[in-house]
């Protein structure tokens, strides 16, 4: 599941299309350069929706987007977008979406605003009016100016459909659908050109660079200002790039970028299939399921963008946002007078000193997402801590292992998960992996599957001690502090951000550069905007895939889920 497009905290502006005429010169773009190689990066469902929303405004909805999320490679769905194609079934869905969007664009309530001109006749094609619309829409949807060949194609489609169906609108809708199913929209086509600074080498062309920047920072298409900087060549100058990055970092659209990144990094696509037994945990309702990831994303936006706090604060902060459903799970009396209003009554909330539900680890989005349906799992939680937050790999369990002891919750001898896992892990083949996962997961055993706090399991007091790399801790507060200060936590975020933005693993040289970046930023902690600033201002961010190392091979299988 990608971030649902709920009402954002930060306000964004009108549609790009509506603003285009104010900023972008009309109809004067040069044809796309056909000299370089082209690399494909498939849009994620979230990027698809955000692009449509930004280009056409909030009046145009992407309904029933059921296109798949792809697969996770090296910890990120983003890396998988360089490898997945589009199947026949997905093409059907994309065509359906395209029709729905086109229909909304030519709806009488918004057509004149979005198309930007009135046709001479409602029942016939109008190449002049249609052409100006296609140039504008094409610019944002293809993230570069249309070539003459492309514009001619859309005009031909418009003319044919408008004539055949006796409707100017039908002609507009047909050509717009054509854009929306074209590979130039469904994939980001990263195009290369000779790099003048490095003879014989290639670099991303300006429009491709603009897209890479925009989808990392905003999870959406470049806006008119960025495209204009690409067109003029200023984006490929140090000063021009700085100007654009600074402008973008201050934009409310940053919220979409940070949401999309953490949705991927924290594996929130897992919510699509999360099943918590509501007979055992009646407070874990459908509302909790819907609100859990949103709580975390709101906390992240608040901490990293609004308060500009360092990343480490996410683990220890007592500030969050709650809904009544979440408050019930966490045992918090939520004062309804604080409601912000709107469809979802999100309330900013600060836990009292010492409350266990601190930071990201105390939230249902971590505790429940990494549990079994009816029982907590120190192993799954420890694995998630290692893989998602520290970027360390935990090997899959070997075949031919007897797990019988682990969760026989009726075992009269081994009452707690710790006792059962300790007994299970005495087997040599199991011990190696459980040593990696369980000691971290044990520290969260005070939380049941549904993220509720508990002091005992089946009458036995819970021992929440654990360790990480020689540092011992007891309970969530100490674990959170250790994670906040661990160099691997910062290094993981930095590496993941670069990988997410470029959809590939960094090379050895790039890792060295990223390590240096971590050292430079160590003093004040990693702040999101500063991290993005440093990454996006560096030439490594714009490197061409072929000049980077091959994407590592290990990925999850099509039906694989956490074991």
């Amino acid at each position: 599941m990608w971030p649902r497009l709920k009402a954002p905290i930060l306000r964004t502006g009108a549609s790009l299309l509506a603003m285009a005429s104010l900023i972008v010169p009309q109809g004067s773009f040069a044809a796309a350069d056909a000299a370089g190689s082209v690399y494909l990066v498939r849009l994620t469902p979230s990027q698809y929706e955000r692009s449509i929303l930004d280009v056409f405004g909030p009046g145009v909805q992407v309904t029933r987007n059921t296109v798949g999320t792809g697969f996770r490679d090296e910890g990120l769905l983003a890396i998988g977008t360089r490898r997945i194609a589009i199947t026949s079934a997905e093409m059907q869905q994309y065509e359906k979406l395209a029709q729905g969007i086109s229909k909304q664009v030519v709806d009488p309530r918004r057509r004149d605003t979005l198309v930007g001109c009135k046709p001479r006749s409602e029942t016939a094609p109008d190449a002049s009016c249609a052409g100006s619309f296609f140039e504008k829409a094409g610019l944002f949807l293809f993230r570069r100016p249309l070539s003459k060949v492309e514009l001619d194609l859309f005009l031909a489609t418009h003319t044919e459909a408008a004539t055949q169906l006796g409707s100017f609108n039908a002609g507009i809708a047909a050509a717009l659908s054509q854009m929306l199913v074209a590979p130039e929209f469904l994939f980001r086509l990263e195009t290369t050109e000779p790099d003048p600074a490095r003879p014989g080498m290639q670099r991303l062309d300006a429009y491709s660079a603009a897209s890479r920047l925009s989808y990392l920072l905003w999870d959406s298409s470049p806006d008119a200002g960025l495209l204009a900087a690409a067109k003029s060549g200023r984006l490929q100058t140090t000063e021009g790039l700085q100007q654009q990055v600074e402008r973008m970092l201050m934009s409310p659209r940053m919220e979409h970028g940070v949401r999309a990144f953490f949705t991927d990094m924290l594996g929130f696509d897992g919510f699509a299939t999360l099943s918590i037994d509501s007979t055992l945990y009646p407070r874990f309702t459908k509302n909790v399921l819907e609100d859990a990831d949103e709580q975390t994303l709101r906390t992240i936006v608040d901490q990293l963008l609004i308060r500009n706090n360092p990343y480490g604060e996410l683990f220890v902060t007592r500030q969050t946002f709650l809904t009544p459903a979440l408050a019930a799970v966490y045992g918090v009396p939520l004062p309804r007078s604080q409601e912000l209003g709107g469809a979802v009554p999100w309330v900013p909330y600060e836990y009292p000193e010492g409350d266990p539900h601190i930071g990201l680890l105390g939230q249902a989005s971590f505790l429940s997402l990494n549990s079994h349906p009816g029982t907590s799992s120190p192993t799954l939680r420890g694995k998630a801590l290692r893989e998602k937050l520290l970027c360390q790999k935990v090997p899959a369990p070997p075949a031919n292992v007897d797990f019988s002891l682990v969760q026989d919750v009726n075992n009269p001898v081994y009452k707690t998960a710790r006792q059962r896992l300790t007994a299970h892990a005495t087997e040599a083949t199991c011990a190696a992996c459980h040593k990696i996962t369980d000691p971290m997961g044990f520290a969260l055993e005070n939380f049941d599957t549904a993220a509720g706090f508990r002091r005992a399991e089946r009458g036995e007091p819970i021992d929440a001690t654990g360790s990480l790399n020689g540092r011992d801790f007891n309970g969530i507060h100490e674990l959170a502090k250790v994670l906040k200060d661990a160099p691997a936590t910062a290094s993981c975020l930095i590496n993941r951000t670069f990988s997410y933005g470029t959809q590939r693993q960094p090379s050895r040289e790039e890792r060295a550069w990223l390590t240096g970046l971590q050292r430079e930023m160590a003093t004040g902690g990693i702040r999101w905007r500063e991290l993005l600033r440093r990454i996006t201002l560096h030439p490594n961010f714009y490197s061409v895939p072929d000049t980077a190392p091959a994407v590592a091979a290990r990925v999850e299988g099509p039906a694989a889920v956490s074991n």
Binding site: Y39, G68, A85, Q92, A182, D408, N563
Partner: protein, 449 residues
């Protein structure tokens, strides 16, 4: 030449797609099918076959499911007694295995991968064209949907259907959404006396053709690493164009076609509890039976859920996958009792699907008679991630090309032998199938008619 590919269309339709919509009245012939219901009376051509796959997770209880004898006179063991109502319509294959050929056993992946693709890969990303896609290329090009994929656990990724590299076909998880997709406003009743080619569909096809025409220019520029992905995009585009072309042709009348009861979201209860899964599966089974009887598709794929099965018994805190590893073997019974219970429920679901296909009469036979259903799982013994003794089933007679009611032992051969038998039963020109030791060249000739 695919003999099922296309039936003769009325020539009068030729030329009407030039721009003007027309209504053409063609009466449905009352005696459209021949007496046995296996062919069109007018043309003598056979009704097209239907192929379905059905995946269930975590196998069966190993020592309980293999019948004592082979052949047609075998008795179902108690563990499989739920299959009794359909025993004469299925074949049961034992003694199959999946050879790893030195590769790592990717738990809950390698076994199903091999049965669906003939390949055991080194890692999970190398999943490529599956059996259903091979079959669809052979029989499914002239239907509105090339294939339909569904999953009953709410997980779109619970699918083993793929076309090309990295081309997993995501599963539909909502019966209500599938109902609308199949029988919503775009559905054309094949038995309707009136046929009007939809000018909107003509435009849609033309839109796609316009994109297809750009193929050469883009393929010339794309990097070598991405060429196959772009090629697959254009293949998918062509598939959709072909499907729209089918919608512009007068459908072949199918007297057995009837629309199912409409489904809306309120009718759904998607979840992983056994009864939820059963309800979702039954809804999908009905939709697929009606869809195939109405010629909307000839290929479908059903997954009860992920191979790490999330199925749950009510009140049981642990899901099926965990249970296979964690439930104690009852010393008296000699097996894991809750795992057995869940495995048998899944076999009941299989019966539900078989009966849904069998309930649609076509002449003197049923839809099941011209269908071939392939049921497979991920492990022989899930508790130990075993790659041996996979329980495999087929159901249906593939239009008379398969005999049913048999228990067959593969005697240690690769499970791909079943896939090869299926391909031959469906008239595909396959002499062998699979890679390395999983390359099968021997079919189960006893059941090929």
């Amino acid at each position: 030449m695919n003999r099922y590919r296309k039936l003769n269309r009325r020539e009068v339709l030729r030329g009407v797609l030039g721009g003007t919509a027309v209504s053409i009245a063609l009466p449905v012939l009352e005696c459209f099918l021949n007496e046995s219901g296996t062919a069109y009376a007018a043309t003598g051509q056979e009704l097209p076959p239907v192929f379905g796959t059905w995946f269930w997770g975590l196998g069966l209880i190993p020592q309980l499911w293999v019948p004592k004898t082979t052949g047609s006179a075998y008795e179902l063991p108690e563990h499989l007694s739920v299959l009794a109502p359909v025993k004469s319509k299925i074949n049961l294959y034992s003694g199959t295995q999946v050879f790893l050929d030195g590769k790592v056993n990717q738990n809950h992946f390698s076994g199903a991968q091999c049965q669906m693709t003939g390949v055991v890969s080194r890692n999970g990303s190398d999943y490529t064209t599956s059996l259903d896609s091979l079959v669809a290329d052979h029989i499914g090009k002239r239907t509105r949907f090339r294939s339909i994929e569904v999953s009953c656990d709410g997980n779109r990724r619970s699918t083993w259907s793929a076309r090309g590299e990295y081309g997993m076909n995501p599963a539909e998880i909502s019966p209500a959404v599938l109902y609308t997709k199949l029988f919503g406003p775009d559905f054309r009743d094949p038995n309707s006396a009136e046929f009007t080619p939809d000018p909107g569909v003509m435009v849609r096809r033309s839109v796609l053709s316009g994109v297809s025409e750009q193929r050469r220019a883009l393929m010339a520029r794309v990097s070598a690493t991405d060429r196959s992905r772009l090629d697959q995009y254009f293949t998918s585009l062509r598939d959709l164009e072909t499907q729209l072309s089918v919608e512009l042709e007068r459908p072949i009348p199918l007297p057995a076609c009837s629309q199912p009861v409409a489904l809306v979201e309120a009718d759904e209860d998607i979840g992983t509890l056994v009864e939820q899964t059963r309800k979702t599966h039954k809804q999908f089974a009905q939709l697929l039976a009606h869809a195939t009887s109405c010629g909307q598709t000839q290929v479908f794929n059903v997954a009860l859920g992920s191979s790490f099965s999330p199925l749950r018994k009510p009140g049981e805190p642990t899901a099926y996958h965990q249970l296979t590893h964690e439930e104690r073997i009852d010393p008296q019974l000699g097996y894991q009792p809750t795992c057995r219970w869940l495995a048998e429920r899944q076999m009941e679901f299989l019966v539900d699907l078989i009966q849904a296909l069998d309930s649609i009469r076509e002449g003197e036979g049923t839809l099941l008679d011209r269908s071939l259903l392939f049921a497979y799982t991920d492990h022989g013994e899930a508790r130990l991630h075993s790659m041996k003794d996979y329980p495999v089933f087929t159901a249906g007679r593939a239009g008379g090309r398969m005999k049913t009611g048999f228990h067959l032992s593969a005697q240690g051969d690769s499970a791909t032998r079943v896939g090869l038998t299926i391909q031959q039963a469906l008239g595909m020109n396959a002499g062998n199938w699979g890679t390395e030791t999983n390359n099968a060249s021997k079919v189960f000739s006893e059941v090929l008619a």
